[in-house]
Amino acid sequence: MDSVEHYQAFFKTGEGQLFPWLEALRAPARERFVAQGFPDPLEEGWRYTPLRSLERVRFTPAEAMSAIPSEPVDLELLKDAYSVVFVDGHYVATASCLEGLPEEVKLKPLSLALRTPGEDLQGLFEDTAAAASCHRLEDFNTALFSDGLCLDIQPNYRLEKPIVVLHLTQQAQGLNTLQHRLRLAKGAEAHLIEVFIGPNDHPSLTTSMTYAVMDENASLRHVRLQREGKASHHFSGLRLKLKRSARYRGHLASLGALWSRTEIHAQLGTSAECELEGLLLASGRQHQDVETRLDHGGTHASSRQNFRGIANERGRGVFTGRIVVDPGAEKTDAGMSIRNLLLSGDAEIDARPQLEIHADDVKCSHGVTVGQLDEEAVFTLQSRGIGEQEARHMLTFAFANELIERIEPEAARASIRDAFKATLPGSDFGSES
């Protein structure tokens, strides 16, 4: 049995009678995935990210929710936040906290929303839908997702407390597939924090797609921390639609998993603002891939991208950043910076900025650097009494910390800082002053 046949057995079918709109979403995705399978390494977007290791294992979705995880869950992060916890692809009500939500905010797991009469899920799915599926991993996710977050915020409502979404994978060879849908009405504001945690001792596969539409002047701050287990595979995608003057600010820290790919695609309307920052760390034999695509469709929109990659041992990093400026999108202001640090001779990072500009009066810039630690700085620290290894860790951390420092809220920043320090091999350099 090939891998496609294996997954076919788990396709979600039989929803058609109750939810024809959901079936209408799943059916074409199923068909495309069956016909085409997983992306081929010969395809341009996947040349640097082979899926062989992912295809070798037959992952299986968990039938039902398993016990509450014993994994250390970041409790600081869950304090003073609404939280939605998914374990092996299933919502765990007892671990989540949705108490005290104002009526302007609808926040529910899909599994619950489907059973709630009067929910306009079809509208939410249609509004947030991306223009088209980009590839078969997205189709794979659509064919299989077992749950997800549905968030709908009324006009001009500012949700102060952050929403934390925890994705936990526990089951051996588990397949954890979720799809989130967010709609922020005109002037609405929210703060979303997504955390992915997986087991270290056996492989697992998490795929998670987040679709968001942001109406005029809406604002979303989004933090994503990927610290899956050492044998895990991780694929997550974000598809954003930013309407007039909407603002998105995203921070990504991709630290875990053996194989990881994160995609961020955004469509920017007139005067929309999109800011993406990301940090990735590839140690051992880790593969970290980040792909962004920003479509500037309206005039006066601005985007800033600031990514840093660190590869150690035999780690591998891939950045593909594409900026497309549509005809007529005058006064576009787009900037992209990709800085990389190689800590060993066997490490590799490929950075591929791509600009496609179809308008005249635009400002687009991009810069890529790949370098090593500054040996002068290492010596300076040594000459002050700090051991060489510690000096190297300190400088590596400093490189990452320039991005980490900008993360809000403080709890998310601390969580990412701790996760980074814990992931950096052999690091033990005390606490931050």
Binding site: M394, F397, F399, F429
Partner: protein, 250 residues
């Protein structure tokens, strides 16, 4: 405290130090003067343990130990401090973090506990004030965006906090205006004690107006060609290096 015997060293296969001998006792201030290319900075760097030099002959003994066998961090923990000629910028590592990490590394080496956070902050604040540095400097990246004078003062700040026993100042006066020079000199003078020694490497006599040396050595073409009291520096200033080494008269 420090004894250098017949030290010869190469960099990139080129002989730079050609037999240097020097003895420094506790509490002494030695000035090493010399024209460009005489080997002054090489000597400083070899003492601090910078890579890129091959010692081909001779020995350096620091408090009875073979200094050349020690790693740079071990030398620092044992009390050697090099104030850099060109301090590097280290973005992302704040000044205060470096100071604390360095001080704790040295304390740990001597079997002491980590410094108390409040005590440390008080100590640092007192020192930066005496060096006319703004408190905000503590929270900026090490030397990041600092002016030349600020970088040099920052070196002295580190020295004041770490309290080394042998301070090597490599062209600390270069690039300083007269006001900054005074501040730096005051900082150094405040650290003078009967147990702490200094090596001041400099091209000009100017620094020695503010920090009085006990001994002045003139280095030329990798050798100490003359040693004397502070009056030697004044004579050099008046007559030029060509007075010592005729090959420098072009």
């Amino acid at each position: 405290m420090l004894s250098i015997q017949n030290l010869e060293a190469k960099a990139d296969e080129q002989a730079i130090l050609k037999g240097i001998s020097l003895d420094i006792k506790p509490g002494e201030v030695h000035a090493i003067m010399g024209p460009n290319g005489s080997g002054k900075s090489t000597l400083s760097n070899i003492l601090a343990g910078r890579e890129g030099y091959q010692v081909t002959h001779g020995s350096v003994t620091y408090e009875g130990k073979d200094l050349l066998a020690m790693k740079p961090e071990e030398r620092a923990r044992e009390g050697i401090f090099l104030a850099f000629q060109y301090p590097v910028e280290i973005p992302g590592v704040s000044n205060i973090y470096l100071l604390k990490a360095a001080l704790n590394a040295i304390r740990k080496h001597h079997g002491q506990t980590e410094v108390d956070a409040m005590d440390f902050l008080q100590l640092v604040k007192a020192k930066i004030k005496s060096l006319s540095l703004d408190e905000q400097f503590l929270y900026r990246g090490v030397n990041e965006g600092f002016s030349g004078g600020e970088k040099k003062r920052n070196e002295i700040l580190q020295m004041a906090i770490l309290e080394p026993r042998l301070c090597i100042l490599d062209e600390t006066d270069s690039g300083l205006d007269i006001d900054a020079l005074k501040i730096v000199a005051d900082g150094v003078n405040a650290l003078r004690s009967p147990t702490r020694s200094f090596i001041m490497v400099t091209h000009y006599q100017r620094l020695l107006d503010y920090i009085k040396p006990d001994v002045v050595h003139v280095l030329a073409q990798g050798r100490i060609v003359r040693s004397g009291g502070p009056e030697l520096a004044l004579e050099l200033e008046a007559r030029g290096y060509g007075w010592i080494d005729p090959s420098l008269n072009h």
